[in-house]
Amino acid sequence: MAGEHRRTGLALPAALSEVHALFAEVAAAHPGLTVEDVMRVETALIELVGNIVEHGRPSGGVRYTLEVAVSPGEVVAHLADDAREPAPGAADHDMPDEWAETGRGLALAGALVDELVHEAGPTGNRWQITQRRTGGTPG
């Protein structure tokens, strides 16, 4: 099932449009998915990919690969990058106070989905998102 829907490329701002396009594809291919489940996984991945775009080093030279698989029970997404430095984990980030203008991305990603796992290794970062499907139909 892994890799049912896939995008790869350089982590430039245009990558965000690719993530939106991928989820339009996912929604069209799986009409039984609820709008909310798609929205939650899509928003979490926009935060994670946006984080690579903004903080990945070398800037503009980091490659990302995103795969999304839909099964009757859940949506699972795998995101990998080849950044030279480990990304901060979502667990390290508390939600900032209401007046902060930055620093919400990873905390928001973690709050949106049922499970968010991050592994930093010598060849880059790997993230796995799992969202159990709520309602909808199995398609």
Binding site: P13, L16, H20, V35, E36, M39, R40, T43, I46, E47, G50, V53, E54, M95, E98, W99, A100, E101, T102, R104, G105, A107, L108, A111, L112
Partner: protein, 110 residues
């Protein structure tokens, strides 16, 4: 993201459409600065056509709220979509940016 400003009585309504993300957050900041320089500092952001906001967009909303208050006014948001309502709630920003159901509701009764 496209932003069109209009004045209604002593309030400026900024009608926004598109996605408010790290790519477009600057547009909102610029539009708010322009509005605060051009008219009354009571701003209503009509988000009815904004289907997606990320954390950078949320930062731009908070920045806009601060700027409006610094200018002696305030900022309200109206007609938010479900995605926007969800991210506001999960980040607790709905405590300082309470969404109004529609533009007339936000525009009246300051």
């Amino acid at each position: 993201m496209e932003i069109t400003a209009r004045q209604e009585a002593e309030v400026q309504v900024l009608e926004c459409s598109g996605r408010l993300t790290m790519v477009t957050a600057r547009s909102l900041r610029d539009a708010v600065e322009q509005a605060l320089g051009a008219g009354p500092p009571r701003l209503v952001l009509d988000l009815g056509e904004v289907g997606f906001v990320d954390s950078s967009g949320l930062g731009a909303l908070i920045s806009a709220l601060k700027r409006a208050r610094q200018a002696g006014g305030d900022l309200r948001i109206a007609a938010v979509t479900e995605q926007v309502r969800t991210v506001l709630k999960l980040t607790n920003l709905d405590r300082v940016l309470r969404p109004y159901a529609d533009v007339p509701g936000a525009r009246d009764g300051w």
